[in-house]
Amino acid sequence: MNESKPITPSSPGKTSKSSASASGARRNDDGFLDLHYSMLRVRRVEERLLQVFSEGKIPGFIHVSIGQEAVASGVCSCLTPADTIFTTHRGHGHTLAKGMELKPFMAEIFGRANGSCHGNSGSMHVASKEAGVGGANGIVGAGMPIALGSAFASAFKGEDSVTVAFFGDGASNQGTFHESMNLAALWNLPLIFVCENNGWAQFSAQKSYMKVDNIYRRAEGYGMPGVFVDGEDVLKVREGMQQAVARARAGLGPTLLECKTHRWFGHFAGDPQKYRPSNDLEQSRNIDCIANFEKFLVDSEVASREQLDAVNARLNAEIDEAIAYAEASPSAGAGQFLSDVYA
């Protein structure tokens, strides 16, 4: 199977635990409102991050995933807190969609003592043991071998939890991709390789770093199924992921899930993207996974505009609170970081 079938509103789904599910969920909801909440949360948070970053309130640099929310939310909607994800430098969306609390997330990005990593790491290394986020990673491709170990541990302990390794199209040319794919297939590990193919690696377009268009076709060479889905369609992502997760939980091994998506902004916040053809940028901006899904929700009467606006308002309040919390939080005390080096 190389293409997931077109989605149907009645396609099987599980409802995740996000705070939206309570409000206004309907018979025919099928987790749609959770998906919407999850995607919108990622976008609103990253829009605010761009803003506070431009105001100079965040040290270092950040990479946002705006425009790619359907991948994060579709994938993570199939996971439980017992499952673990490993993500990349562009990991805010995956991390939030996996259910990380906003306050320790923000506080970390602001570099505060009560950040999830005590301010040792920042945006590129946010992690949450509680939420099953094994960490973002600043080294392209380095998360995949680590994800192998998480999946191995699930099998070793006889648990049915699964692990997800998020990575980009650029990362798919790093040796770690190859070694990890081979080993995961060989040992039938409960691991899903989610390639977020946004067509760009930093300042370069995909055709400049690989001859093939699709990453999923590399799966066959390892004896692993490779699946391609439209990463702009959260339901298609969810469907492809559901099948991959079902295989993994059933002990049938890993899957490579390629999600084609688009990068709306620069590589990092503040990147003027001089290198990027304006039509490429326009085309990307013309596809809005959230607007499309909201239209689907309203047209299919799963939710009313008012409901969606209410979700948006609730989110903005949640984010205001988290940012106020982060800004009000203290920096770590002198030398405190030294106590995190060794156990």
Binding site: S121, A127, L148, T176, A343
Partner: protein, 323 residues
């Protein structure tokens, strides 16, 4: 006390720790049925099964990364890298991932894992199979680094390393595998971070580690014949370094020589010499002299000329005694 070969002592430690702790597993190339390239994992597959004894593809980055991910989930992996010269192949996982995991994640995750790798020359294995790279790893915060010189320490340090909650790089010496020595019966643990006085002496302190200990002890005997009593300190651990043991000895002898097999320049001897020269200047009666290999890759056919030996140590001590 029984006599054991160094490699057998390592093997015993693995058997004992795997029997003691269900979460310990070994992983590496040929560690299963073949029992490892040098026999370190012999019998483990038979005793503990495929679930806990994992033969891998030739994929050092995947192996070490897998160990980290498993450790973050509460397992205690013991990785075998066939030669220490291959550590550069998975250097990113060791230095940027494993060593920094606890720090980067603010202590939410820890990395209780061990990486075993044999370094050193002596087998004419050539430039890519004979290196002593310990200085690199001692410079990396987050890692612990040990280098046993005897079967007893190999066993006791490996058991401690497996129980340690931080990642430990366990550097074996392939030319020591066949060497024998007494190993205490029963549970035998050697603490990480503690050096050992191998020979008591009053005139000069010689600090060393791993296989170089043999050349140093030989030199000490030669020196004794000419009336110089050397105190020999085997570091055993490089990180954390047992500063107290070194300082105590130098307090007594006021003279120091540091000897190791690795290239002298920017080697571990530099740190020890710098530390002592800086903090014990009032105690020292002479310069701290270092013994190490010349600035060259390890030559295949010219090892005996290349590797530092007892004679080099004697010369170094004579230089210090001249003050």
């Amino acid at each position: 006390m029984k006599e054991l070969r160094y490699i057998k002592a390592i093997n015993e430690a693995l058997h004992e720790e795997m029997a003691r702790d269900e979460t310990v597993f070994v992983i590496g190339e040929d560690v299963g049925a073949p029992g490892g390239a040098f026999g370190g994992t012999r019998g483990l597959l038979q005793a503990f099964g495929e679930r806990r004894v994992r033969d891998t593809p030739i994929s050092e980055s995947a192996i070490t990364g897998l160990a980290l991910g498993a450790a973050m989930k509460g397992l205690r992996p013991v990785v075998e890298i066939m030669f220490a010269d291959f550590l550069p192949v998975c250097m990113d996982q060791i230095v940027n991932q494993i060593a920094k995991a606890r720090f980067m994640f603010g202590g939410q995750f820890t990395a209780p894992l061990v990486i075993r790798a044999p370094g050193g020359g002596g087998l004419n294995a050539g430039p890519q199979h004979s290196q002593s790279l310990e200085a690199w790893f001692a410079h990396v915060p987050g890692l612990k680094v040990v280098m046993p010189a005897t079967p007893a320490d190999a066993k006791g340090l490996l058991k401690s390393a497996i129980r340690d909650d931080d990642p430990v790089l366990f550097l074996e010496h392939k030319a020591l595998y066949a060497s024998s020595g007494p190993v205490p019966d029963g549970e035998h643990l050697v603490p990480i971070g503690k050096a050992d006085v191998r020979r008591a002496g009053t005139d000069v302190t010689i600090v060393t580690a791993s296989r170089m200990l043999q050349g140093v002890l030989e030199a000490a005997e030669t020196l004794a014949a000419s009336g110089v009593q050397a105190e020999v300190i085997d570091l055993r651990s490089l990180s954390p370094l047992d500063k107290d043991a070194i300082f105590q000895s130098v307090e007594k002898t006021s003279r120091l020589v540091v000897a190791h097999e690795a290239v002298k320049s920017f080697g571990i001897g530099a740190e020890i010499a710098a530390m002592v020269s800086e903090e014990m200047i009032d105690v020292l009666d002479g310069p701290v002299v270092r013994v190490g290999a010349p600035f060259s890759p390890v030559p295949f056919a010219h090892e005996s000329e290349y590797l530092p030996n007892a004679a080099d140590v004697v010369r170094a001590v004579e230089k210090v005694m001249a003050y």
